[in-house]
Every structure is written in structure tokens, then in C-alpha cells.
């Protein structure tokens, strides 16, 4: 959105020249400020603008892409099975569970808050589901619905303490981190582990459930669908903008963007087909990303979330119900934590004592932040959950492949999280210096 203004100089006929409506004889007033830097023609223009943005701290997904290249190179040098189709397929499957947690965290981070309870809530969700299905013999889909609703209610409760009582979100969710984990341990009781039959949602979220039953065409169908919807979406947007007389993306830029997506999508589809196919978990994760991205960018609710993250007082004065936004955002975080918990249950077909424990929470936060969602609120996209999870899961899978001890994994995860937050803080500082924050 922000770069639509750059096209103004390129299309002289579009240069906004509007005479004040009440005085037709007055000289036309250009709405474009002469101080605004305008991208030059051609590739050089893109490059200089890119350099300027990086200097201004608008690095976007650049650190992720660079980080991913470095990580993949290092692991490939250590073990040549790392970039094999099977391993990449593993990464794509295992990233969806923590990725769901990261989606919920993106909402919370957009408010400039933190939810430390998502790991515990995900563990509790898998246990609740197991108790309903195994101990009480309920229908699996009913159990799934109830589990997800409870996840959302837990989040809403924490949000209520934060929004209405005024307890810092950090403390409320830290209490939740302990409390919900305790509830899970109490429910599991002496048995410790409940095995869940491999059916219904647990099978759907498992590693042996594939989109269109492993049909080769399935992966390409998904890739084609994604590329086509982006292409048509961009073209329709361009036509509407042209009709309304506001700056629009030139066709060349749309072609470039769609082309890049097409390459990424079809290469991924090819690689996954070389292995077993696209798991349903990945499809659900991607669908959730698309829906949430739409909600955040195109609906009044999403706009309100950004507004509260950018300035609480301004949001309040604009008539936004700030406590309602806060409570619903925490409810969404709890909901996605419960979804992630079901994905974990699908991975192991069981509810275990250490579900959602360990470094689950840290990985989810790290994913959202590495992907480019700011800890300081108001800036970010849900795609950071995807990009960040690619990095995090690559590290996890790579370390597993090298038979690294858990101790080493924890240390590396900690370092990665710190690095991501440092990048976020530094880029925010340079954004401030460049007047963009």
C-alpha cells in the first residue's frame, strides 16, 4: 500500500492536478509535495529505493530471507540430507503447529502486548481434547469445537484482566503460563499420557494426512490457486484505482510480484511432490494465514487492532472500544493456541505431560518477531508467522538432523530470539531517526 505513491511521477497524465473546486480560475494545486522522493525509472530506481528503505529501518522481510539462506547453507554443509525433499517436507509439516501459535501472537504483538500463556494453553487444549474423547467417549468434532471455544474463553479471560482490571498483560499471561500448565498436569493425573485414536481431527492434523490424498495435481492446484488469486486481485485493484483516479501499481510491478510468488509456490509444490505431498496441516496453516491477513488488512476490525497498537488515546477518541479490541485479541490468541495444541496432538497422537512446554512459547514469539512483527505494537503482518516459522523450524529440524542435544537447542533458540528482538529494536531506532516511527 505504502508504495503506491511512488508511481505518480512515472505516469505524467496521472499527476494529481486538482483546481480548488470553488475557484476554477485559480492555478491548479498539486497535491504531491515536491519534497517527496520519487522512484526513478527502471531497475536502478528499485535498487536506490531499496537502499534508502534499508537505511531508514524499513527492512521488511529482508533479515528473514538472508537468515534463511545462511541457515540452509550451514546445515546443508553439515549434512547433505538437509535440503532433501523429505526433510523440507518435514519442515513444512512441523512448522504449522507452532505457526498457529505465532498467528495468535501476531495479533497480541500488534497491540504492543505479549501473551506468555500460549504454550500452556496449547498443551491444555490437547489434554482437554484427549479427556473428552478418550475418557468421556465424546464425538471427536464436538470435542474439537469445545476445545477451541475453551481456548478462546481462556484468552478472553486473560484479556479481561488486562483490559478491564488493568493488570499488565505480561503478568496476567505469566500467571496463565503457570496456571494452565498446572491444570493440564492435574487433568493428566497419574497416567501422564493419554493416547488419542488416530481419527477425525487428530488424523487430519497428523503427518499421514495429505491434501487430495497425495495426488500430484493437488500441490500444483494449490500453487495455481494462490498465484491466480493474487494476479486477479492485483489487476482488479489496479482497475478500480485507475477508474477512481488514484495512483496504482504499474502492470510491470504486478507482473514482477506475481512472478516471484509463482516461482516460490510452484518450486515448493514440486519439492513437496518429490516427497509425499502437501500435508493437510500445511494447507490449514496457509488458509488461516490468508484469512487472518484479510481480516487484519481489509476489515474494520483489523484496522482497529492496528489503531489501538499505534495510539490508544487516538483510537479511543475515534470511537474505538479499546477494551473490546484488547479482549477479543487475547481471545484470538487463546483460540489459535488451542488450534496449535490440536496440531501438536496430531503430531504425536497423544496428550503428554510436556505438551506445549519447553521452548514452545519462545519459538512462537521468536517466529512472529523474526518474521518482522514489531514487539512495540502497530507494525507487522501475519505473514511474519510463516516466514519466522520457516527460519525457526529449519533450525529445529537441522539440529535434530545433526543429533544435537536439547541443551544446545535451547541455547540456540535463545540466541535466535535475542537476535530477532535486537533487529526489531535497531530497525525501530533507525525508523525513528528516519521519521517513520
Amino acid at each position: 500500500m505504502s508504495d503506491t505513491s511512488k508511481t505518480v511521477k512515472k505516469d505524467p497524465e496521472l499527476q494529481e492536478t486538482v483546481a480548488p473546486s470553488d475557484d476554477p480560475t485559480a492555478a491548479p494545486v498539486s497535491i504531491v509535495d515536491p519534497r517527496l522522493l520519487v522512484r526513478e525509472e527502471g531497475l536502478k530506481g528499485y535498487w536506490t529505493e531499496f537502499k534508502r528503505k534499508v537505511k531508514g529501518g524499513e527492512i521488511g522481510s529482508l533479515p528473514v530471507v538472508l537468515g534463511l539462506i545462511v541457515i540452509w547453507t550451514i546445515f546443508q554443509l553439515q549434512n547433505d540430507r538437509f535440503l532433501s525433499a523429505d526433510n523440507l517436507s518435514n519442515i513444512s509439516y512441523y512448522m504449522s503447529a507452532t505457526g498457529m501459535l505465532a498467528i495468535g501472537l501476531v495479533f497480541v504483538l500488534l497491540l504492543g502486548e505479549i501473551d506468555l500463556s500460549v504454550g500452556s494453553v496449547s498443551g491444555l487444549a490437547s489434554t482437554l481434547f484427549a479427556v473428552y474423547v478418550v475418557n468421556h467417549g465424546w464425538n471427536v468434532w464436538l470435542a474439537l469445537s469445545l476445545t477451541l471455544v475453551i481456548g478462546a474463553l481462556i484468552g478472553a479471560l486473560q484479556g479481561w484482566f488486562f483490559a478491564k482490571i488493568g493488570v499488565p498483560a505480561f503478568v496476567v499471561t505469566l500467571a496463565g503460563f503457570l496456571g494452565w500448565n498446572g491444570l493440564m498436569l492435574w487433568l493428566l493425573g497419574a497416567s501422564g499420557t493419554i493416547n488419542i485414536p488416530d481419527e477425525g481431527p487428530v488424523h487430519l492434523f497428523g503427518q499421514s494426512s495429505f491434501f487430495m490424498d497425495q495426488a500430484v495435481i493437488g500441490a500444483y492446484l494449490l500453487a495455481g490457486l494462490g498465484v491466480a488469486s493474487m494476479l486477479f486481485g492485483s489487476l482488479i485493484e489496479q482497475r478500480r484505482r485507475r477508474a477512481a483516479g488514484v495512483p496504482f501499481r504499474p502492470t510491470s510491478e504486478i507482473a514482477l510480484r506475481v512472478g516471484l510468488l509463482a516461482v516460490a509456490a510452484f518450486v515448493s509444490a514440486y519439492v513437496l511432490n518429490q516427497s509425499a505431498g502437501v500435508t493437510n496441516s500445511l494447507v490449514i496453516f496457509l488458509a488461516a494465514l490468508v484469512i487472518v491477513d484479510f481480516v487484519l488488512r481489509r476489515t474494520p476490525y483489523g484496522r482497529k487492532v492496528f489503531a489501538v497498537g499505534g495510539g490508544i488515546e487516538a483510537a479511543r477518541r475515534a470511537g474505538i472500544n479499546v477494551p473490546m479490541i484488547r479482549i477479543t485479541v487475547f481471545a484470538l490468541s487463546g483460540f489459535f493456541a488451542a488450534v496449535g495444541g490440536m496440531f501438536f496432538a496430531g503430531q504425536t497422537q497423544s496428550a503428554t505431560l510436556n505438551a506445549g512446554g519447553g521452548n514452545t512459547l519462545m519459538l512462537a514469539i521468536a517466529a512472529a518477531v523474526i518474521g518482522g512483527t514489531s514487539l512495540f505494537g502497530g507494525r507487522g503482518t501475519v505473514w511474519s508467522a510463516l516466514l519466522g516459522m520457516l527460519v525457526i523450524q529449519s533450525i529445529q529440524t537441522g539440529l535434530d538432523l545433526l543429533n544435537m542435544n536439547t541443551s544446545i537447542q535451547y541455547m540456540i533458540t535463545g540466541a535466535v530470539l535475542l537476535g530477532a528482538v535486537v533487529i526489531d529494536s535497531v530497525s525501530r531506532k533507525s525508523q525513528k531517526a528516519a521519521g517513520r516511527a
Partner: protein, 263 residues
Amino acid sequence: MVHVSATPVLALRGVSKRFGAVQALTDVELEVHAGEVVALVGDNGAGKSTLVKTIAGVHPIDEGVIEWDGKPVSINKPHDAQGLGVATVYQDLALCDNLDVVGNLYLGRELLHRGVIDEVSMEKNARELLSTLSIRIPSVRIPIASLSGGQRQVVAIARALIGDPKIVILDEPTAALGVEQTAQVLDLVERLRERNLGVILISHNMADVKAVADTVAVLRLGKNNGSFPVKDTTHEEIIAAITGATDNAVTRRAGRRTTEAAK
């Protein structure tokens, strides 16, 4: 400027407001006509903010009548004031830094197209609004954080116009601005008058008041202390009314002597 309408759009008749033991406003009268800029001046604590807040619906009045187009109305919540057509531009904290200009202009009242935010129409209308007000900003799609203080202030004022108000209240719009930016905001105030809006301008800056206002309403210790047409009033007279400098033995004596001399 001559009053263009006989009935004031907004009139306060004998309005009083108490906070506990403090009588913040006593029998205050104020009239704002369409196409009129009323400067509300007074020292700190004179009751300017309280008066504006009663109009904006933040504090309900205790006594008196608020008339809208000649008819008494009750304003108890900010929502009532907005419904009548009162838009208030606060001095600070009115914009979200992370949203772009279009997003801020339409914050809380986004245009929808089949339930989805209609960015295209919003951008088109925003550009039209900004250009009719001759507001120059680099682009309507850059975040507010990139704008200067003056540009933010004009965006905040433009934002008030999105709801099609009849009365615009500006709370010290030039307080933190430089020379050029102040001039821009004053230009904008004049353009609001040209659009036949009533403007209430709170300011401590006499130069600004003299530059754009038609009428100066002076408050002193919660009471009216004179309402002057700007054209026929000197700087000193306004200052005297604000500080109460005329209300002492020396000026009373001087007044008597001039009337005697006139005889």
C-alpha cells in the same frame, strides 16, 4: 466578516458548570454563527477548556440551555455532540502514528464496500478533501509518523471534516507550530469559514486571534468578560479583558475623567 445567518448555529444561554466546590462556569453566553470564527480566549483556568468540553459532550452542563439552530438540545455524551455536528480537534494525541493519512482520516468510520474496507474510495475522497483545503502533504499513503507537526495538525483538522460537521472546535491548533506551519493552519481555518462552518478557536496567541477570528469571546474566572468584534478592537483591549486590567481603581478613575472631559 458580517454574520451570515441570523440564528446562531450554536448558542449557549446562561450555562453554568460546577465541579464539587468549584464554580467552573457561571452564566456563560456564547453564540457561534455559520461562517463565523469565534476566538475563545482567557487565562489559564478561565474556563475555556471546560466550556469547550460542555459543547463537545465531555461534561454535561448543570444549568442553562444549549441551543442548536435556535432549538434547545441536551448534550450529555460526546456521541450527542457528534450527532449534532460538533467536531473537536484536540491539541495532541489525535492521530495514530502507524496508520497512513487515509487510515487516520477515516479512523473509526471507514468506508465499506461489501463489508470490506474500501481503500480506493477512501483514498479518492481523502485526496479531494485535502486538495480542496489546499493541504500539501507528501502523500496520502505515508504513515503519520513521517509528517511534520504542522502537517499532522492540518490532517487532524481535515479529519474533523470527514463527518460533515457544522461546528468545528479547535483547541490551541497552533500551540506547538512554527511560523510557516502556523500560517498553514490559519489558512485552513479561513477555508473552514469559507465552507460556512462555525469555528470555535481556543488560542493564547493574540496575533493568531487577530489574524483569523471574527469575534473574540473573553472568559475570565468562569464568566463572560466581553465579546468583541475583532476589526474594531485593539490588541490591548483584548489583553485587558483577559487579565481584568480594566477592573481596578485606576482605570475606573481614568474612565470618569475622560467622561468629565467630554462634557
